[in-house]
């Protein structure tokens, strides 16, 4: 045991309510690190997918087809107006029954979409619904006349969107997007409900096994999420600054 581990071991002996067991027991350290890694993976994948969903949704909302617009609107209403925890449970337990299975060893039947897969799908669509609305607000902030200028230069709808409308809309959308992605990172903890071994799941397991570790686990959870969200916000703010155009907005 090194000095760091010794310190927390001694602390737990003197103050049993503050048992930072994962700082001196390598098995528990491993659980925390694997949980943290799962949380990071879940967050990064969901952030990227939800932004893509937001982009495609915002693009489809401007479609000529009334049916397409209605489908996008229905999607937004469903995912925005129902709790993400219920969505997770629904995807995993309800939809999960209908997905095909495969058998890796000839005995066990394993569904092709794992609980991690469902968590990614569910959380991405949840945050994506908000992202569609965020991007739509940004797109509406781009003057119709700017779009007309692009069209009068021969651009089609997609070209005008990619080269003119979206780059401007995105700058307007960044602060709201920032907020929603912060919420998404925090909502990944709800994947606990379908036993995704992310950080909260691991921490709860640890203090179920070692009840004296409860307070320590909570403290570390807060600190880790402050750190993770801090990194995200710092990145988004840097992006916002880099995208600033002299003499435009602000």
């Amino acid at each position: 045991m090194n000095a760091f581990q010794q310190f927390f071991f001694d602390l737990s002996e003197e103050h049993p309510r503050w048992n930072f067991i994962f700082f001196y027991d390598p098995v528990q350290t491993e659980r925390v690190l694997s949980g943290l890694w799962m949380t990071i993976q879940l967050s990064v994948v969901c952030v990227i997918l939800s932004v893509l969903i937001g982009l495609v949704g915002a693009w489809l909302q401007g479609a000529h087809s009334r049916l397409v617009r209605a489908v996008v609107q229905g999607y937004i209403q469903f995912f925005r107006n129902t709790p993400p925890l219920i969505q997770l449970l629904f995807f995993y337990f309800a939809l999960g029954q209908f997905t095909p299975t495969y058998s890796p060893d000839g005995w066990l039947e394993v569904p092709i979409i794992s609980n991690v897969g469902w968590a990614i799908i569910s959380l991405s669509f949840f945050a994506g619904a908000f992202n569609v609305e965020i991007f739509r607000a940004g797109i509406e902030a781009v003057p119709e006349s700017t779009r007309e200028a692009a069209e009068s230069l021969g651009m089609n709808r997609l070209q005008a969107f990619i080269y003119v409308v979206f780059p401007l809309a995105f700058r307007v959308s960044l602060p709201a997007l920032n907020n929603n992605l912060v919420n998404l990172v925090k909502t990944t903890t709800q994947a606990l409900a379908i036993a995704v071994p992310e950080l909260l799941y691991q921490m709860v397991s640890i203090y179920n096994d070692y009840s004296t570790a409860q307070n320590a686990c909570m403290v570390v959870l807060f600190v880790v999420y402050i750190g993770l969200v801090g990194i995200l916000v710092t990145g988004m703010n840097a992006w916002e600054r880099a995208a600033r155009v002299p003499g435009y907005g602000q």
Binding site: A149, S152, L153, M155, Q159, P167, L168, P246, G247, Y248
Partner: protein
């Protein structure tokens, strides 16, 4: 009429009996006019008389209800019209410049040739720099629209439109949003263009300018062309009382 039957001795833009309504409001009530290649025409008239709507119809920014618009023999009032082909031929400059605020002056001019015409970058940049020089904006290539004055922005907009090598240029009240002292620099750029042989259709309130550059002046009021003629006679010998009243207020 098939598109390829057009020859330069026919009108480059021929509008016949054009009707256009916005809801219950009929803005154009049967407008006809013809523009020959190399001609400069000015459309004048009181606000709300349909001038802007008319020229926006020419490059299909506004769909029309009935009537015909032929640009180089090609019908614009046709759902199957090739808008890209049309807009390569017809450039447009707007009252509010409508530059792309996230791009520099040079990038604004280069965007359409690069992305729409897929021309090689080196060639496009060379031409874009030459166009900016032509509208007297040397040294402003790397400025963003937000860093330029209204007159400078409008000249970038003219260069941006010219970068597509159009055959016809439409100007929709391009000096109406400018400070009086910058109006002149924009008019100089347009005059230079007109004298180089570019076909220009201008909606304008600058009567002195219209008189100076136009080959033909059209006066519109309440959705119809009240009268038209070459500037030499139009300003002095107009016969319709509506024209005379308008001119007396503005001159």
């Amino acid at each position: 009429m098939p598109a390829n039957s057009w020859t330069p001795d026919q009108p480059i833009v021929a509008i016949h009996d054009l009707h256009k309504s916005f809801g219950a409001l009929e803005v154009l009530k049967g407008v006809s006019l013809e523009v020959m290649k190399g001609e400069v025409i000015c459309i004048i008239g009181p606000s709300g008389s349909g001038k802007s709507t008319l020229i926006r119809c020419i490059n299909a920014l506004n769909p029309v209800d009935s009537g015909s618009i032929l640009v180089e023999g090609q019908e614009v009032n046709d759902p199957a019209v090739d808008k890209l082909a049309l807009r390569k031929k017809v450039g447009m400059v707007f009252q509010q410049y409508n530059l792309f605020p996230h791009k520099t002056a040079l990038q604004n001019v280069m965007m359409a040739p690069l992305k729409v015409l897929k021309q090689p970058r080196g060639e496009v940049e060379k031409r874009a720099r030459a166009l900016l020089t032509r509208v007297n904006l040397e040294g402003k290539e790397d400025s963003y629209p937000g860093e330029l004055s209204g007159g400078q922005q409008q000249r970038v907009a003219i260069a941006r439109s010219l970068a597509m090598n159009p055959d016809v240029m439409l100007f929709d009240e391009v000096t109406a949003a400018l400070d009086p002292e910058t109006v002149k620099e924009v008019l100089v750029a347009i005059k230079d263009l007109a004298q180089s042989g570019m076909t220009c259709i201008l909606v304008t309130h600058e009567m002195g300018f219209a008189r100076e550059v136009a080959d033909h002046i059209y006066f519109t009021d309440r959705g119809v062309i009240v009268e038209h003629g070459p500037p030499a006679t139009f300003f002095t010998e107009s016969s319709d009382p509506r024209t005379r009243e308008f001119l007396s207020q503005i001159l």
